[in-house]
Symmetry: C2
């Protein structure tokens, strides 16, 4: 194995460590909302600094690889995709923090209908995140494409939740602050799905050298 | 001038063309809300494809520079920062589209108090975007730092608007759908400010080689 191959492997390992932290932040933040578990929410907030530091370390490492090696073709695409995936993972971590903050606002509130569609949306979003990362590990373009296909389903669930939450607010004004927090959780989940989509697009670019962003026809 | 310097200059020109499109999308989307101008909102939607195409072109060009040249130090940092700024600009364009879509929902609705703080927040966010881009053009680290300092002010305005909007919703349920759309506009403006902050951080990295993300102490 070339020394450079070992370094590329190291870059992947760093990204996967970060991904694993971010995935558990997402899971814990959603569970902290659904189970009204304040301690779990606080554990998500405590991990934020670690995720931030990993983002800086991965960027530094990737830029050093660009500087010291002269990567070509697939190696270069791996590093470029790695830089972008790194940014997406860090933002997903921030969104999990937002959700955990809403959990802390909500944990003492009575439940207005069992959390609307949040567990349902969260399950879909988490499976998109999982598939996007698996497609990266296994260079699996078909799996990456399946992530792109799920994006519309998330949008539909988001829209349905919004309508439902607005009708709760209209029913009695006491529901309003809580419904606004729930709106925010739904929106944060939707944004996590957007980042999973970005990662899937980057995987397709890395494996095939094709840029599928903004080309709906390739995404079928 | 080295041929490579000309290419770096070309990369900057491409980024600034894209920035100028995105800045006008933000301005037009905010004006379409405040002036209830549906045609203006539609003009923002029409420009989205152009912004998306520019993002792909700039990424391709930057990755070609990485592949064909062997950039070092400040040149490498310019290209790495360029890749990140490009992503931020495209997302800002998407957020302007979100705002324009809300404008289309709202243009026939009566005004519930003159748009809350939206013009005020929008003015602050637009000045952050302008300063972030000027700091890139002029390699002006002090100006970039001033963008980071504005981020807290945006958060404060956002929180105040949220409280105000919730109180409108509580007053009468007829305000609720409109207030939810206004909440969404405020949140989109806040996210545009986050991207301006990202750009300012990338400018500091590009000029000084210091990574200021997640280091509050350097940001003072």
């Amino acid at each position: 194995m070339r020394h450079f191959d070992q370094e590329l492997e190291q870059l992947k390992v760093m990204l996967l460590e970060m991904a694993s932290l971010v995935e558990s932040a997402i899971t814990n933040s959603v569970n902290s909302v659904v189970q009204k578990d304040k301690l779990l929410a606080e554990s998500v907030l405590e991990k934020e600094a670690t995720v931030n530091q990993m983002e800086v370390d991965i960027d530094d490492f990737a830029i050093k690889l660009l500087a010291l090696q002269q990567p070509m073709a697939v190696d270069l695409r791996l590093i470029a995709a790695g830089l972008k995936i790194n940014t997406d993972l860090e933002r997903m971590g921030d969104l999990a923090v937002n959700i955990a903050e809403r959990a802390i606002e909500l944990y003492q509130e009575p439940v207005i209908k069992p959390m609307v569609d949040i567990p349902h949306i969260a399950a879909l979003v988490q499976s998109m995140v999982q598939k996007a990362l698996d497609s990266f590990v296994n260079k699996d373009v078909e799996l990456a494409k399946s992530v792109l296909a799920s994006d519309d389903a998330v949008d539909d669930l988001r829209t349905a939740s919004f309508h439902e939450l607005i009708s709760y607010m209209e029913r009695t004004k006491h529901n309003i602050p809580q419904a606004v927090s729930l709106l925010s959780i739904v929106r944060n989940l939707e944004r996590i799905a957007d980042h999973a989509t970005n990662i899937a697009e980057d995987v397709i670019f890395y494996v095939k050298g094709i840029d599928v962003r903004h080309h709906a026809e390739v995404r079928e």
